[in-house]
């Protein structure tokens, strides 16, 4: 399977997918840590992909989504945002709405 197929497969396998640095229990970047916390606050299950463990996906996803940094949160296959947007949505209470609807 080529890398784009693999990304599509990942995005199709769970309604909420977070591409991040490290894991939810051991995030390896402050922005990934903040984003994980915001999602946890919403009380939903999500799938994560540690981009440090898949360098091919790490590079290809940046092109795929026209988004050069991590974390990246996807809901139903659509990019919702990176850390700034997630924190902004969370502070307005909109993140929970989006995630609950999808979960």
């Amino acid at each position: 399977m080529d890398v784009i197929e693999r990304i599509k497969d990942q995005l199709g396998s769970h309604p909420i997918v977070l591409y991040m640095k490290g894991s939810p229990d051991f995030p390896q970047c402050g922005f990934s840590a903040q984003t994980v916390q915001a999602i946890k606050d919403c009380g939903v299950q999500f799938m994560y992909i540690n981009i440090f463990e898949d360098l091919e996906v790490r590079e290809a996803l940046k092109e795929y989504s026209n988004w050069p940094t991590y974390p990246q949160l996807y809901v139903n296959g659509e990019l919702v945002g990176g850390c700034d947007i997630i924190m902004d949505l969370h502070s307005k209470g909109e993140l929970q709405e989006i995630l609950k609807k999808a979960a």
Binding site: C29, G30, N66, W67, P68, T69, L79, G81, I85
Partner: protein, 88 residues
Amino acid sequence: MTSELIKQKLNESIQPELIEIVDDSAAHAGHAGARQGGGHYNVTIVAKIFDGKSLIQRHQLIYQALSDLMKSEIHALGINALTPSENK
């Protein structure tokens, strides 16, 4: 100075009414991304071009303008992208 480069690139492609860049690199010195040489910056930018665009689309415009810099000079970019009416 990377801040100046960021400002220049954004001025060219986004033509903002207001732009402010804060170099926050010192606060992140020592962690992995910073060791690779990329800095942390916060950008506040007010531009007409953001009218009718979602947050995702606004950020993508900015990332596109800075694509060369995102590869090495910039490790992290905080973005606050507003339309002129949102800034009032």
